[in-house]
């Protein structure tokens, strides 16, 4: 397997021309973005026309942000990646400040008062500080692990700042009432420490503690109720007892399963979802993929998953060819974040894990998140422009 991948790498090296960014990656991004926009529109227009007065309510907004995002992506791809290296520590600091700010002054969204995920700052559209936090975390790890590359796998003390950063950020995001965000931060942190190459024993110990915690968390949600907010406990209960709470806790998940199941092998055809007709709550958000499954069927869904897999693969190829350790780790972090989030989202819509509220990159409605995502894609493209191949 290893040799095959390396073989591919050699072949591609010969093709890619110097100085320009990775076209394959860009094509994959644009393909996913296009499919994502089309499917988000398909999923959203019924809700939009019933509840917002216009079928184009969501797609118009999302399309504007997509245009902004594409421009940002192309602009960022022109920025030399070393800039990020310089701002990485500052970025972490700022993100912590924002994460505290959001807890103090959360933007209030009707019906979602319990969640403190959004922040309204002057001159900026409202955004989720946890999104910034994740990117800052990636930059921090990439930077710090490059700097301390020598002692990272020998000195156990190296674990301490990493654990503090991950722990603090997890706690802050968790206090937003944002379980999925917390899990993503945790996952990112863990994988980044692994990629950075910390002392193996310590890494395994950390994993073991986390696994134990997760085990208790999932099987005995009542016993950790004091640790968890009520809503998270409810969601786990709903996930475990699939025959109950049909019209309450499990409503959205059940509607999702009905939608996915209705799709069958070939789907009902683009635009033909029935579940989006006010059965599935907010089909444009976290559960957009179930409408995708209903309309495009198993085959369509698998193709989309393979596109995400291809994006991940291409991202890692770019990382492998990155000129230095920082850019490699940064690209891996960004790419991994997309991969993890995608997988987690599909786990949720398929009821494989509890409904934690996690969006699907490129598909789910959300302007600032999309702009940030495309910005991050720009950063990957920027690294691709300085890949080792170009030096030859």
């Amino acid at each position: 397997m290893n040799s095959r991948v390396i073989g591919k790498k050699i072949r591609i090296r010969n093709v890619v021309s110097g100085g320009s960014f990775d076209t394959v990656f860009l094509v994959l991004v644009m393909t996913l973005l296009t499919i994502g926009l089309v499917m988000m529109f398909s999923a959203s227009y019924v809700n939009a026309s019933y509840l917002n007065g216009s079928a184009f309510f969501y797609i118009k907004k999302q399309a504007k942000f997509a245009v902004v995002g594409i421009i940002l992506m192309l602009a960022v791809s022109r920025v030399k990646y070393t800039v990020y290296k310089r701002v990485s520590y500052a970025a972490l600091g700022i993100s912590f400040v924002l994460l505290v700010l959001v807890l103090l002054f959360p933007a209030e969204i009707e019906g979602k008062e319990a969640f403190k995920r959004w922040l309204d700052l002057p001159l900026l559209p409202s955004f989720q500080p946890s999104e910034i936090g994740k990117l800052a975390l990636i930059l921090f790890f990439a930077r710090d692990m490059e700097k301390n590359q020598k002692k990272i796998d020998t000195d156990w003390k190296m674990m301490i700042p990493y654990l503090i950063v991950i722990g603090t950020m997890c706690l802050l995001v968790y206090m937003e009432n944002h379980l999925s965000g917390t899990l993503l931060v945790l996952g990112l942190g863990v994988v980044m420490t692994y990629l950075g190459g910390v002392k193996k024993g310590w890494f395994i110990a950390m994993l073991a503690v986390m696994a134990l915690f997760a085990f208790i968390y999932i099987l005995e949600p009542d016993k950790v109720i004091k640790l968890l907010e009520n809503y998270a406990g409810d969601r786990i209960t709903a996930w475990r007892e699939k025959d109950k709470f049909e019209t309450t806790l499990r409503w959205q998940t059940n509607q999702s399963l009905y939608a996915i199941g209705s799709g069958g092998l070939f789907g009902l055809g683009l635009g033909n979802s029935k579940q989006k007709h006010l059965y599935m709550p907010e089909p444009q958000n976290d559960f957009v993929f179930s409408i995708v499954c209903e309309e495009l069927g198993f085959i369509g869904a698998v193709i989309i998953i393979l596109l995400f897999a291809a994006l991940v693969w291409r991202g890692f190829v770019i990382a492998m060819r990155a000129k230095d350790r920082f850019s490699a780790l940064m690209v891996m972090g960004i790419i991994m974040q997309i991969g993890l989030q995608t997988a987690l989202n599909i786990f949720v819509v398929t009821d494989t894990v509890p409904n934690t509220g996690i969006s699907l990159p490129f598909f789910s409605y959300g302007g600032t998140a999309l702009v940030m995502l495309l910005g991050e894609m720009g950063m990957v493209l920027s690294v691709s422009r300085y890949s080792k191949v170009t030096k030859k």
């Binding site: 190459g197 509607q255 399963l257 009905y258 998953i305 393979l306 693969w313 350790r325 991969g339 398929t350």
Partner: protein, 762 residues
């Protein structure tokens, strides 16, 4: 293994992470999807369908009930029902009041009841009114298109249409051609569109049809509407089949109006009648007043007004409800098949038939009635205390002599009597296609003793249904064949195709054709000269038998107070019977003899029905003589000449106008004029507009009535037994006294006899 460079180690780790994400995470995703979409796809598809598909029932249009000539008696029309969704109104008082005011205004119901329904906010569907006509439903629909505006905190206005709260569903309404017409036969339907009484109940399955379904995909919104998706399966409603009855609207009408009059005249509890086609057993008419009579379009309303008031006055809710229910059941009950009565002397025709069939009474055998007889150890009185004297079977049946039938009946013995009792169908239900038919109340056959036969042979000590009696009488008329009575001639589908057709069914030959012929002759004597003379119809040979039986006898301080069943059963024409009839008057006040009060009703119905059926009249010579007078031609004659012409025909004349030449006459030449009738001679045209007040023609003999009418310038059409001259007395006239009518108007006057018609103690 050589130590790898840090770059190689990073590559290894990256590979591992990428592999984890791609193979493990995405692999699990694909696995989960495959499980949901392919393995358990059907399960979730079904769940989704339950969610999305909404079943709307299309009511099948209920079949029509036609009379025998395809005149609709009961029809269904599609209408609407209006409902609200109180859960959406909630505590929004403004909206509720608007809805309450508007709906109560349009639908003509009290605001209070609408308000009450709108306030039941735990319900999503409350019917405001069912059976709403299209006009009103359209008004509601207009209202539903209006809206009110609400402002949220941000000041955004939005419109809320009233169709959010109100809905219109299809409904069906049953229309009946006339409100009370044939109510005991037709029955009615309940709120669930299913028959609750009569044919509506008996043939409910045929009439109902199969409801259809529209399966539509609806969205998940609160006020679900259809999805803009091509998904609509329609299973058409199969319309209910229609019934074509044997009931003839005209004959039914004659029966209904004659019974109505009898009900008023006799102040009875109930008056009922059945008219049957002799040769088939088909019921041509069936009606009652009192019990078994209600408004088809509001069956729950108590028809008897004094009874209704009485019920209303009961203060105890429970008692009132019980009284109301009792009154309702009583008026819904078809007493022609669901109640029994004591036939009394009418039953003598059965005893006579049995005796003739068994050859136990020679026609020339005489019996001397002394007013009472001792038989089988008991003494029985004849209704005529002084006795009927010496008589044959013919005279005994004519006079309805009890001792004759008691002594002759005993000749049959217990077994012989019961053989005919059973053969004539008195131990079984007739099998008529009407609900709740009941059976007779009779002795336990094994325990019978001979004195029971003595009582039963003149129709006492047991009870039968009117339907059983008419069926048995019909067997006598119909050459001895007992027919199963039926009301539904055929069942047809909505396209008019015959689904089922009733074939006349002869249950058995009860007596021989010869016995039948003899009986018809004997019974004709009853109407010609005996107790049934009030059923005589000029030009028709009517055969019948009267009956009067005691229902309840109570000793009071003033003596014995009794109630009676007065009945009459007959058929015509006697030589070749076409229709058979029974009339029963339950508990009349005053005159209570079958010959006095039931026979005239039968006569009235017969004269209408026979004429309607185009049955050729067979006038006797005397009748023909009466009919032969035709008006002479006087137009153009001098008045004096005309007067002479008219007088020469033993007719009177009346001159109107000042001229000296007759310009026109009524009746015109060639038309019939009753004996001693009047011819109006007009000598000026403006005299034709003159009117005269109708004189009172009641309680007069035929001659008196005709003369009194002629003096006023009015001609009389005589109905009733016109053969019996002087003993007849008029009791009814078709145009009320005092009404202004034009000269020459023909008024129908009804006559009946009060002599020699008794068959029970007077």
């Amino acid at each position: 293994m050589a130590r790898r460079t840090s770059r190689q180690r990073l590559t290894f780790r990256a590979m591992l992470v990428m592999f984890s994400i791609c193979a493990v995470c995405f692999g699990v995703c694909i696995f989960a999807l495959a499980r949901i979409q392919i393995v358990r796809g059907d399960y979730f598809r079904e769940k989704a369908a339950n969610n999305q598909l909404h079943d709307t029932v299309i009511a099948a249009e209920r079949g029509v009930i036609y009379d025998t000539n395809m005149n609709p008696l009961a029809e269904s029309t599609s209408v609407k029902k209006i409902y609200v969704n109180p859960s959406l109104i909630g505590d929004n008082a403004d909206v509720r009041e608007t809805i309450v005011k508007t709906l109560s205004g349009i639908l003509d119901i009290s605001e209070e009841s609408v308000r009450k329904k709108c306030s039941m906010t735990s319900y999503k569907y409350m019917e405001i009114k069912t059976k709403v006509e299209y006009d009103d439903a359209d008004k509601v629909a207009e209202f539903m298109k209006t809206y009110y505006t609400v402002k949220d905190e941000k000041g955004n206005e939005s419109k809320i249409y009233y169709n959010y709260y109100i809905g219109i569903d299809p409904d069906v309404k049953r229309y009946y051609s006339k409100p009370f017409f044939a109510s005991c036969i037709l029955g009615f339907i309940g709120t669930e569109n299913s028959g609750l009484a009569g044919l509506e109940s008996e043939y409910n399955t045929d009439l109902t049809g199969v409801p259809g379904r529209i399966i539509t995909a609806q969205n998940g919104g609160l006020n679900a509407s259809s999805m803009p998706i091509e998904y609509k399966s329609v299973y058409d409603a199969q319309q209910g089949n229609s019934l074509v009855l044997t009931i003839n609207e005209y004959i039914q009408n004659y029966l209904e109006s004659a019974l109505q009059q009898a009900y008023i005249d006799t102040k009875c509890e109930t008056a009922l009648g059945i008219v049957m086609e002799t040769k088939t057993g088909a019921i041509l008419g069936m009606a009652s007043r009192g019990k078994g009579y209600y408004d088809l379009s509001s069956p729950w309303k108590v028809v008897n007004e004094s009874k209704a008031k009485e019920i209303e006055a009961i203060s105890d809710t429970k008692e009132r409800r019980a009284a109301l229910e009792e009154a309702q059941y009583s008026q819904w009950k078809n007493i022609c098949v669901s109640e029994t009565y004591e036939p009394g002397s009418v039953f003598k025709i059965i005893t006579a038939s049995a005796l003739l069939e068994e050859d136990l009474v020679p026609m020339n055998e005489t019996f001397s009635c002394t007013g009472s007889v001792v038989a089988a150890g008991s003494k029985y009185n004849c209704h005529r205390h002084q006795g009927h004297g010496v008589q044959t079977l013919r005279e005994a049946i004519k006079n309805s002599c009890n001792p004759f039938f008691i002594t002759r009946g005993l000749r049959l013995g217990i077994d012989g009597f019961n053989k005919y009792f059973e053969a004539f169908g008195f131990l079984e239900r007739t099998g008529v296609d009407l609900p709740s038919e009941t059976n007779s109340i009779y002795y336990k056959i094994d325990n019978m003793i001979l004195s029971n036969v003595a009582s039963a042979s003149f129709g006492q000590t047991f009870q039968i249904t009117p339907m059983q009696m008419i069926a048995a009488c019909n067997a006598i008329a119909n050459d001895g064949r007992l027919m199963r009575p039926y009301v539904v001639k055929k069942v047809i589908d909505s396209g008019g195709n015959v689904i089922y057709e009733t074939k006349p069914e002869a249950k058995r030959q009860v007596i021989s054709k010869k016995t039948s012929e003899t009986m018809r002759d004997l019974m004709e004597g009853v109407v010609k000269e005996g107790t049934g003379k009030n059923a005589y119809v000029a030009g028709y040979r009517v055969a019948g038998k009267t009956g009067t039986s005691e229902k309840v006898s109570q000793k009071t301080s003033e003596g014995i107070s009794s109630t009676f069943w007065a009945s009459f059963t007959c058929f015509a024409p006697a030589n070749d019977p076409e229709i058979t009839m029974i009339i029963i008057i339950d508990s009349p006040v005053g005159a209570h003899g079958g010959g006095a009060i039931a026979a005239p009703v039968a006569g009235e119905v017969l004269s209408g029905a026979l004429e309607y059926l185009n049955i050729e009249p067979q006038y006797t010579g005397e009748e023909l003589a009466d009919l032969k007078i035709t008006a002479p031609e006087t137009v153009g004659m001098k008045v004096s000449e005309a007067q002479k012409t008219v007088s020469s025909l033993k007719l009177t004349y009346k001159v109107r106008g000042d001229g000296d030449t007759v310009l026109s006459q009524i009746p015109s030449s060639g038309q019939n004029v009753p004996k001693n009738g009047v011819v109006i001679l007009y000598t000026s045209n403006n005299a034709k507009t003159e009117t005269v007040a109708m004189p009172d023609l009641s309680k007069l003999t035929i001659t008196q009535a005709v003369n009194k009418a002629a003096a006023a310038g009015i001609n009389v059409n005589i109905t009733g037994n016109s053969l019996l001259g002087s003993e007849l007395v008029s009791y009814k006239q078709s145009i009320p006294e005092g009404k202004e009518v034009s000269y020459g108007t023909i008024v129908t006057v009804y006559f009946k006899s009060n002599m020699g018609i008794a068959d029970l103690d007077e």
